[in-house]
């Protein structure tokens, strides 16, 4: 058997680093999926021209549009959610407004909170500021050739999402409106 010289050891260490990175990434996502609280979010139709980039569907949710938000584009935001029928929606923004700090939100809301990033801000017809927010759950990968079917159902389908105590979210799967559990 040949000796493990320094270059060989370095090569093996570098190879192990790659394996550890992949396993660490998978472990973090699995942990989020297993430990997070499961909620269901309603989707809204998306402009079909923007819908496909390769084999995934671009998703937008009702909670993608957040009322009474005061952050600037690019900044982080925590959005408190409450159950509304069979889905979760933004909590009453007057009583439980979104905030840039999780601690603030936790002081008035113990339910699920989504952590997102403000994409843009505008004023709604009531002259209140609202934001478009992304949560890192806007892509749903689908088998090749099946995206159009999902595209036609957007608005009717819902997405099952898991969310942890820090507001990080991950997609669990699709919930069709015909689903009894939906």
């Amino acid at each position: 058997m040949r000796a493990l010289t320094r270059p060989r050891v370095l090569f093996l260490v570098a190879a192990v680093v790659q394996i550890v990175i992949v396993l660490g990434f998978v472990g973090a996502r699995e942990s989020l999926l297993r430990r997070g609280q499961e909620i269901v979010l309603a989707t809204v139709p998306v402009d079909p021209r923007d819908l496909f980039r390769g084999d995934f569907v671009v998703l937008r949710y009702e909670v993608s549009s957040v009322d009474l938000c005061f952050g600037s584009a690019g900044s982080r935001i925590y959005v408190p959610l409450i159950r509304n029928g069979d889905v979760h929606a933004q909590a009453d923004a007057e009583r439980r407004p979104p905030a840039e700090d999780l601690t603030d939100v936790r002081s008035w809301h113990q339910g699920p909170v989504l952590r997102g990033k403000i994409e843009s801000a505008s004023f709604n017809p009531d002259n209140q500021r609202s934001c478009q927010v992304s949560y890192g759950i806007e892509s749903y990968f689908v088998p090749e050739g099946t995206g159009r079917e999902i595209e036609q159902q957007l608005g009717d389908i819902k997405i099952r999402v898991t969310v942890d105590g820090e507001g990080r979210a991950a997609i669990v799967g699709l919930v069709h409106s015909a689903d009894p559990g939906a």
């Binding site: 040949r2 000796a3 010289t5 320094r6 270059p7 060989r8 370095l10 090569f11 093996l12 260490v13 570098a14 190879a15 680093v17 790659q18 394996i19 990175i21 992949v22 396993l23 990434f25 998978v26 996502r29 999926l33 980039r53 390769g54 084999d55 995934f56 584009a73 690019g74 990033k117 994409e119 890192g136 759950i137 806007e138 892509s139 749903y140 990968f141 689908v142 088998p143 090749e144 991950a170 997609i171």
Partner: protein, 416 residues
């Protein structure tokens, strides 16, 4: 003499050194053979063999690229029938198998050129694994941290296996990460903050190369980083020398975006200052030619400061004035690169500087000519200008580099 195979790097360096002593007629062929046989090392390839090695390297790198891209496309085809963990297991098994192949070729078969291609394939498959794992968990493909994981995971194996193609790939992936991060911060692609941030990144890569050039073990990788950093920095200035980039500057709404992103600006400033201090400290510690170290620091920090002043104070109301200023900066940077290259006797600086000189001449020629001549005449003239520029630049390069002729020893060392 016994080495017990303890230091492959030493033996490879020795082989390269002894070969160059022979080429420079410091020793004769018999002495070369005696020295090498004392360490039980084979002779380094001669010029013809070197050409063959380069061909092997090109073939293996092309093969690695093709096979790696093929694996990435296969995994990207989204196997929904397969459970997530099965996909991950399959990916890791593939990655381990190709890593094993690279190790076997590099250290068991002693084929560093072929191994370089396989290690490049390892890095592509590793990137594929990261992105497929992301896909399995519905992580958007434009998430910046996926690029960061790919780049950070590829750098160690590039150094460990001595694969410069893999280091180039890793550097490009990290540049992609930085660009996607700027997008995440909602910084417009062409705006003050993103330009400063990218220039700072280029300077950081350049200085990383310069710092690595000071250490014997990392010196062979230095030209990759130095050249990449130079190209990124100079390309940005070249782009800013075009009047089209500045079209929105006289519109108050657009002008407001030139300098309104504190995160990107603060980070760029931090990167440029820390890198400058590191470069100077490493240069002083290694006792490099102080005028080269100072020229490098002054040139890059000076260009950054100039750009920062332009973006933060927006002193002009028309795009043409900015274009003129940045053409001036581009010329200054070209002169700077050539002078630093001459002082430090490195072709990378001279070649990059002269290449950008050619690009700048062509760009300005096209700017002027399209409004004056028929298009066909423009192309004929452009072709002649290019050939003339190439002749002039090649002649200038030869004249400039003639006395030393001269990458420093070791820069073309053992890594493939």
């Amino acid at each position: 003499m016994k080495t017990d195979g303890k230091d492959d790097d030493f033996l490879e360096r020795l082989r390269g050194e002894v070969s160059s002593w022979h080429d420079e007629r410091i020793i004769d062929a018999a002495t070369e053979t005696r020295i090498l046989s004392r360490y039980r090392v084979g002779r380094a390839p001669r010029q013809d063999e070197g050409r063959l090695n380069r061909l092997v390297l090109i073939l293996s790198v092309a093969g690695g690229l093709l096979a790696g891209l093929g694996v990435m496309l296969t995994v990207a085809s989204n196997w929904t029938e397969m459970a997530r963990l099965t996909k991950v297991t399959l990916l890791l098994t593939t990655l381990l198998a190709v890593q094993g192949g690279g190790f076997w070729l590099r250290y068991r078969r002693g084929m560093p050129s072929v191994a370089a291609g396989v290690v490049l394939m390892v890095s592509l498959i590793f990137g594929g694994a990261v992105f497929l794992a992301g896909q399995a968990y519905h992580v958007p493909a434009n998430e910046p941290y996926l690029y960061l994981l790919w780049g950070l995971g590829s750098i160690p194996i590039a150094y460990a296996a001595g694969s410069r193609p893999t280091l180039i790939l890793s550097t490009l992936v990290l540049i992609a990460w930085y660009v996607s991060l700027l997008g995440r911060w909602d910084v417009d692609f062409i705006s003050g903050p993103s330009t400063l941030a990218l220039f700072a990144l280029g300077a950081m890569i350049l200085w990383a190369g310069e710092t690595q050039g000071s250490a014997e073990r990392t010196r062979p990788f230095a030209p990759v980083l130095t050249t990449t950093g130079l190209i990124v920095s100079m390309f940005l200035i070249f782009m800013l020398a075009h009047v089209e980039i500045w079209r929105g500057i006289d519109d108050p709404d657009d002008a407001a975006s030139f300098g309104n992103e504190p995160t990107a600006f603060a980070l760029s400033l931090g990167v440029i200052v820390v890198s400058a201090v590191t470069l100077i400290a490493a240069g002083l510690w290694r006792r490099r030619d102080s005028r080269v170290v100072v020229a490098q620091a002054v040139g890059t920090v000076g260009a950054f400061s100039f750009m920062a002043v332009m973006f933060l104070t927006t002193p002009f109301s028309d795009g043409a004035s900015y274009a003129i200023m940045f053409n001036g900066l581009a010329v200054a940077m070209i002169v700077w690169a050539v002078v630093v290259g001459l002082w430090s006797q490195r072709e990378a600086f001279v070649n990059t500087g002269l290449a950008f000189a050619g690009l700048l001449i062509l760009a300005r020629y096209l700017d002027l000519s399209f409004t004056l001549f028929d298009r066909s005449l423009v192309f004929i003239g452009g072709g002649l200008v290019l050939i003339g520029a190439a002749y002039g630049l090649e002649r200038a390069r030869k004249l400039l580099l003639a006395p030393g002729s001269t990458e420093p020893p070791g820069e073309e060392g053992h890594p493939a």
